[in-house]
Each structure stands twice: as structure tokens, then as C-alpha cells.
Amino acid sequence: MSQKTGQQVYNLTLKIHRYDPDTHRSWIQEYRLEAGRILRFVDLFRKINEEQDATLAWNSSCEHGQCGTCSVKVNGKSLLACELLVENAVQYFNTTTFNIEPLNIAPVVRDLLVDLEKAYERLDKVRPYIIRPAPALSPGEEYPISPHELEGYVNATRCINCFCCASACISSHRTFLGPHAMLAAIIRVMDPREQEKQERLKILYSDQGVYRCHSSRACSFVCPKQIDVAHFIALAKEGGITRKR
């Protein structure tokens, strides 16, 4: 088996930002650990829990990049901890010391765990569902959508609400609903099954909407699903989401 870096075990230093809700104390704690090259950062957290410090709180669910629960900032980059392999991290950041922080998109509950409920409140504002469904064209049958039409927005539907984009965006989270929330809104503007376009447009083109985007494209840069978020927001500014295709 090939050993790309010639090294099987890394000596890592993780500097983890911690917060204790009982005392409201924040501090940075340093953990040193040995890890194999293909362990993921979630595995490292688990290792810390098992071998060094059971109190370190972090979050994950699917652990294979499908749910967006494990997002953290590693050396400043927002990413999914379950997708980051030790070897890749060492290579990318060119160091074995990693600064790990929770995403700054909502209050921290403890250590790396943020209050996603709060973060989701901004998404809920774009009403991520069909408000007024179009009646079926022929009863008992699906509403036809051509693959071409679907192609226009299908990439936006891949968003898993990991909030990486929101945490990297140049706009603050106090005012911008968020790049991913823009996607959710844009999807339903482009979806022929949604009849309630007016309200959607009002939300999208509001002060909390597309005008908060300055095409800094950090969203596209960090998106773990490789969605070109910036493209969709630009499409909204261009008028491309309401134009009949």
C-alpha cells in the first residue's frame, strides 16, 4: 500500500476553543495526540473524549458529509470535521497545529457546539417549503418538470445547511439571512410548483436578502457540497431566476 507522505502517524496539537456555560468562561485548551493519517477530525475529538478529556463537547451525526452537523473552523476555515482527514489537513495548512473553533453563526452552547436552532431561525424566515402548491395538471399525476428546468436549480437543492458558507461570508450574521437561505428561497422561486412567488421575491430582495451579498464568493469556496452558491445569488441579481427558461 502506498504511503503518500511516508508517514503513518502524526503528532498533532489541537488548540480547541472552549466555553463553559455554567461559568461563562472561555479559554483555549491544547491537546496533543498521535493520529493515523486517515483519521477524520471527528475521530480525533472522539479520541480526546476517550483518552484525555471526556468533557470536550462537539457535535456530529451522519459522519460522512451528508447532514451538516459537525461544522467547525479549523485554522480559520469553515468545514465539516467529519470530512477532514489528518493527512489532508496537514498538507493543506502545512502544519500539525490546528486551531479549532465553533462556527460564529449563533451563540455557543458549549465548546464546539453552537445553538443551531438559533442559526436555523434565519433560514426559517425564507419559508423553506412550498407555500402555495400549484394544482396538479392532471389529477393523480405528478407535476411535470423538465430535466432542463430542474437543471437550473437542482444544485441549490443539494445544500445541507451546514452553515459553513454563512460563517465565511463577508456579511454579518446579524443582518444577512445567509447564503444558504438565499438558495432555499431561490429554489422555490424557480420551482414551477410554487405559486406564491410574490412573497418569496419580497423576502429575497429585502435588506436581509441578496443586497447583503457582495459576491465575495467565500460561500462557494468553503461549501463542502461544492455548490456554487455565489452563482445562484448572482442569478437572482441578474433576474435569471424569474425569467422563463
Partner: protein, 279 residues
């Protein structure tokens, strides 16, 4: 990282420039790694926008001395010094960067130029050319230009660009305020760099009160300057308010700041307009 994010190195020269860029200021390399170059450029756009707004403020203040030509000339003596010339030349950096990058943003946002790495290269390349060209002008200081011959084609070109952009965005769902900001943006895209270049064709053009005042007797010159003052006021005002809205949640603080910005801009604009008319 598995993500094939934009690999910025394409041209051979960049192979040497980029590592320097990435290693000189740690902030830059940090953001390049964590958010990508367009993010850094967005910040640069914001900072240059703010610088220009500041310059605009100072500029109008200085120009207001034109009402008393002696005072103006005294002030302008300063620019004889090498340092000030140099600063004037440096001003070209934010001006041309903001202008061309603004143009790039418009191409990205409304003309569908989404893979704009090459645009970024063009923008940076053209910026460098402009800055060098301006420097050359400032050193040679011997061009003469007729108001009409210089400005007429430029104006035609600018207005055509505005028309082109308006065609593209007029029927979108964006607010009128946003549309105006972008349309004025393209107007300024040509006009401001041209204005700056014009002012350096020869030293007297800008630095001698009488030359300026003489020129300003033409209605066309007045009109031209009026469009500039109005355009820059609106564009800068919108930009500043937009920055506020990025950081302040809707509410009284945001309203107060918006009001203050609007007031400042209005006063500035008014001073500028009055100046143009009375000269």
C-alpha cells in the same frame, strides 16, 4: 482538502508573484486559504470604496477653495512637492482598482460571467497599466487636450455602457436604489479614471485656479461635473449605507447611521453643485 478550489497560478509570472503575495501579509495568506481570493478582493473593494468616499470628502473641501482662487493656488502649491505628487499618483490605485473591480462585479452578477478568474487577471493587469500610464503622464506633464475631443468620446462610451447595463437589469426584481447604484457605477467606471487622467495631462489643468475656473465657464464642463458630483454622491452614499446594513440589524441604530450618511452626502453634494454653478 479534496476541494479543487481555484488554483490561482496560471501565468508564469504569477508563479513568482503569488508566493510573495501569500507570504508577505499573513492576513492575506490566511484569507486566501480559508475563504479564497475573491473574498480578499471583496474586502479590497470595500476598503477602496471607503477610501474613495473619504477622498471625495476632502476633494470637495479643497475644490471649495476655488471660490477664492488665491487660497486655492496656495493650497495647490503643496502638490508641487514630490511627496504630494506621489500621493496623488498613489490615489490611482484605489481608483482604478475599485472602478475595474466594480466593473468585474457587474459582469459577474448581471452578465453571467461566473468563471471570472480570467476577469480578475484582466482587472489586475489593466489596473497596473493605468497606474503606470498615469505615472507617465505625471512625469511628462506636457500633453494638451481639448475638452471636447477628450471628453466627448469618453462620455458617449460611458453612456452606452450605462444603457447596456440598464437593459440587463431594468426588468429584474431588484430595488430601484440598487439598479441606480449599479448604473451609476458603470458610468463612473469610465468617467472617474478618465477624470483623473485628464487632470494630469498637464500640471495647470488642475492646479491653477484660473485654468480651472476658465474651463468651468463652459456649460458642458459644468454639466459634466454635475453628473460626476451627483453620481459619486449617490454611489458613495448607497455604498456606505449598504456597509452599515451589513453589520447593524434593522432598528434605530441602523436608521440613525443611514440618516447621518445621507445628511453628510447631501451637504457634500450641495457644496459641490453650488460650486459648479457659481464658478
Amino acid at each position: 482538502m479534496n476541494k479543487a478550489s481555484w488554483n490561482p497560478i496560471k501565468l508564469p509570472v504569477e508563479r513568482y508573484i503569488l508566493p510573495v503575495l501569500e507570504h508577505l501579509p499573513p492576513v492575506v495568506s490566511f484569507y486566501a486559504k480559508t475563504r479564497g481570493w475573491p473574498f480578499i478582493i471583496a474586502w479590497a473593494h470595500r476598503i477602496t470604496g471607503l477610501l474613495l468616499a473619504l477622498y471625495f470628502f476632502v476633494h470637495i473641501y479643497t475644490l471649495s477653495f476655488l471660490a477664492t482662487p488665491v487660497a486655492y493656488d496656495a493650497k495647490m502649491k503643496l502638490f508641487g512637492f514630490f511627496l504630494f505628487s506621489f500621493l496623488e499618483w498613489l490615489l490611482a490605485v484605489p481608483v482604478i482598482f475599485h472602478a475595474l473591480n466594480g466593473g468585474r462585479l457587474i459582469l459577474f452578477e448581471v452578465f453571467g460571467r461566473r468563471n471570472d478568474e480570467s476577469l480578475i487577471r484582466w482587472m489586475l493587469g489593466l489596473s497596473t497599466t493605468y497606474i503606470l500610464l498615469l505615472g507617465l503622464m505625471m512625469i511628462r506633464q506636457d500633453q494638451s487636450a481639448s475638452l471636447i475631443v477628450y471628453w466627448l468620446p469618453i462620455l458617449v462610451f460611458s453612456i452606452s455602457l450605462v444603457y447596456l447595463v440598464s437593459l440587463k437589469i431594468w426588468r429584474t426584481e431588484n430595488s430601484m436604489a440598487w439598479k441606480l447604484h449599479r448604473m451609476i457605477g458603470v458610468y463612473l467606471l469610465i468617467m472617474i479614471p478618465a477624470h483623473m487622467l485628464f487632470m494630469h495631462l498637464e500640471p495647470a489643468i488642475a492646479h491653477e485656479a484660473n485654468t480651472v475656473i476658465n474651463r468651468m465657464q463652459h456649460v458642458s464642463a459644468k454639466l459634466l461635473d454635475l453628473t460626476l458630483v451627483l453620481g459619486v454622491s449617490y454611489h458613495a452614499g448607497y455604498g456606505l449605507v449598504s456597509i452599515c446594513k451589513d453589520y447593524l440589524p434593522p432598528g434605530s441604530l441602523q436608521n440613525v447611521l443611514t440618516f447621518l450618511i445621507a445628511l453628510t452626502i447631501a451637504v457634500l453634494g450641495w457644496v459641490g453643485i453650488k460650486l459648479t454653478i457659481i464658478l
